[in-house]
């Protein structure tokens, strides 16, 4: 496996211009969509099959009439332990040699399990192609020595692209700097490879708690349920089987336990 690539999105630098959204659409040739009124500059409310990058806008009240305006360019996290990848029953979703997660459009059969299994609501179903789609980390570009289109277009370097270990070092330094500047709540989201989902290969610098940005505090790999759920189902199966044996063996004809 080649060295893991990553994207680092620093919300403290984001100006909400949405150049990343436009660049993503242009490079990936994603068709225009009906705009959606969400009450802010955000469009759309969720990732769609035609929007792999999405700048989210949030207003946070301080309870005294003051308001902080947060903006964050959101994208597929390319999780080290990815719910979509584990869910996919066809093997269409795979991990590339760069550690990113991609959907092979020639294999996907449109079962939509990955759509429900993504802890971040990233994967979208495309009615036209009948397949699931999401950010490819510009798979074609990174295999030809270029960074993702969104990172290339970002005018403030809020979105940065590079080797994961190098980006993580820069990100930790940036958090320290921001804290010194008075942003006490500044924190990294998804940078810790021992943390939730084994770390995110698209990680973020946030200026407050993840919940302000609509992100889960500690996302959980859905497949971590499978073992316990299966054991309990086996327990239930044993009870049903025993119940059947007892009912049919009982000589009285009245059966039951």
């Amino acid at each position: 496996m080649a060295r893991t690539l990553a994207m680092f999105t620093d919300v403290s630098l984001c100006i909400g211009c949405r150049a990343c959204q436009v660049a993503c659409k242009q490079w990936n040739q994603l068709a225009p969509e009906e705009p959606e009124w969400t009450g802010s500059y955000q469009n759309h409310s969720h990732f769609t099959d035609m929007s792999y990058r999405l700048v989210r806008f949030f207003e946070q009240g301080d309870g005294k009439g003051g308001l902080t305006w947060h903006m964050m360019s959101d994208v597929c996290k390319h999780c080290a332990q990815a719910g979509c990848l584990e869910a996919c029953p066809t093997g269409a979703i795979y991990r590339t040699e760069f550690g990113t997660v991609n959907i092979n459009q020639d294999i996907c059969n449109g079962c939509r399990y990955c759509v429900a299994a993504c802890p971040f609501g990233v994967v979208a179903f495309n009615e036209g192609t009948g397949t699931a789609t999401k950010c490819t980390f510009c798979n074609d570009r990174i295999h030809n020595g270029l960074g993702p289109a969104c990172a290339k277009a970002c005018p403030t370097e809020s979105i940065r692209f590079g080797f994961r270990d190098e980006l993580a070092t820069k990100a930790r330094k940036r958090v320290e700097d921001l804290r010194k500047m008075g942003f006490k709540e500044a924190q990294l989201y998804g940078e810790d490879q021992n943390g939730a989902l084994g770390g995110l290969n698209a990680f973020f610098l946030l200026l407050g708690k993840p919940s302000i940005y609509g992100l889960p505090e500690s996302p959980k790999l859905p497949q971590s349920n499978v073992f316990v759920d299966s054991l309990l189902a086996i327990g239930s199966a044993v009870l049903v089987g025993l119940g059947a044996v007892v009912t049919f063996r009982n000589r009285g004809g009245q059966g039951g336990a």
Binding site: S45, H46, G83, E86, P89, T90, G91, A92, Y94, R95, N104, I107, C108, N109, G110, C111, R112, Y113, A116, A117, C118, F120, G121, V122, V123, A124, F125, E127, T129, G130, T131, A132, S211, G214, L215, P216, P222, Q223, N225, V226, V228, D229, S230, L232, A233, G235, S236, A237, L239, V240, G241, G243, A244, V245, T247, F248, G253, Q254, G255, G256
Partner: protein, 312 residues
């Protein structure tokens, strides 16, 4: 967890119908096998009806699943791909073009459906040939029965485990859906056999009584698991979960949910413990069976519908 972030697979009624029929098929197959193992002569009618029900209930399964796919022509990709990728997840087992992903209940379920379908076909065929007086399939039918029962139980339970392995708040926060779906499968499988036997009539009073007794046991298990499901989701806390649960218990899905509880659990159990069914009146047994079948379908449908609704 913020519910507004997540997306839904929006699986339609077709899938609920498959989950229901899979449960009926698995439950009926297990009961037919157990009855035949205990006393084949006494319960021959039950075994025959059970294996036929299992086959008829499993036949629509693959069709419903394939129709629901975005690209139905690629249904075989559930089992095999010509040019597989190298890294398709943890615990993926590949052999040539075939793959099985142990952490993906949908992948395991596709294989289980294939194997159970073969067993259901063989069991029904053997019973049919035996009835025609051709020959006895003693041991080979028993083997098919036991193998089919294992995969039948799997077929009844895995949809619940599959839902539990999604990010939807109502599903991911409880461990009991697989167990619950299996109990529903047992109850509805027994009810399907009882319904057909009570319509066919004949000298089946004893088998019918025992089926109804089993149905009651399965319903008690189902009720206990339903309480555990709702209870554990509730205990897991956080706003998104309360919202999802509210949708099921008090929101727009609550009417169907409570209907399923009353029609599918309370009334059949009340009739049974009221001593009415113990006399094995075929008419009443048929009525109770219909109630259990309807209740079993609705309880699965409404849990899936409430869990899939995107909140906010």
């Amino acid at each position: 967890m913020e519910p507004g972030l997540l997306k839904s697979a929006d699986w339609p009624l077709l899938i609920d119908l498959y989950f229901f029929l899979g449960g009926v098929a698995g439950g009926a197959f297990v009961l037919a096998t157990v009855a035949a193992l205990v006393d084949e002569r006494r319960f021959r009618d039950l075994m025959r009806v059970g294996y036929y029900v299992a086959l008829l209930a499993v036949i629509p399964g693959p069709i419903l699943l394939i129709v629901d796919l975005g690209l139905p022509g690629r249904f075989l990709h559930m089992l095999m791909v010509n040019k597989p990728s190298t890294d398709i997840g943890m615990n993926a087992i590949t052999a040539g073009p075939f793959h099985l992903k142990l952490l993906s209940p949908m992948s395991a379920g596709a294989w289980a459906l294939l194997i159970f379908g073969a067993c259901a076909f063989l069991a029904a065929l053997m019973v049919f040939l035996e009835d025609r007086g051709n020959r006895r399939f003693g041991l080979s039918r028993t083997i098919v029965g036991i193998v089919g029962s294992v995969f039948g139980l799997f077929l009844a339970a895995y949809p619940g485990v599959l839902l539990g392995a999604t990010a939807r708040p109502l599903f991911i926060n409880s461990h009991w859906l697989g167990a619950l779906f299996l109990a529903v499968g047992g109850a509805t499988g027994a009810a399907a056999i009882a319904l057909i036997m009570s319509i066919l009539g004949g000298q089946n009073r004893e088998a019918l009584t025992r089926l109804m007794n089993f149905t009651s046991l399965a319903l008690i298990l189902e009720a206990a698991l339903l309480v555990l499901f709702v209870g554990t989701v509730w205990m897991s806390g956080s706003a998104g979960i309360k919202q999802a649960l509210g949708q099921l218990l008090a929101g727009s899905d609550s009417l169907l949910f409570w209907l399923a509880v009353i029609v599918g659990l309370v009334i059949p159990l009340a009739l049974q413990f009221g001593g009415v069914i113990r006399k094995a009146n075929p008419g009443l047994a048929a009525l109770v069976s219909v109630l259990v079948l309807v209740g079993g379908f609705v309880v699965k449908y409404v849990i899936i519908a409430a869990g899939q609704r995107v909140l906010s």
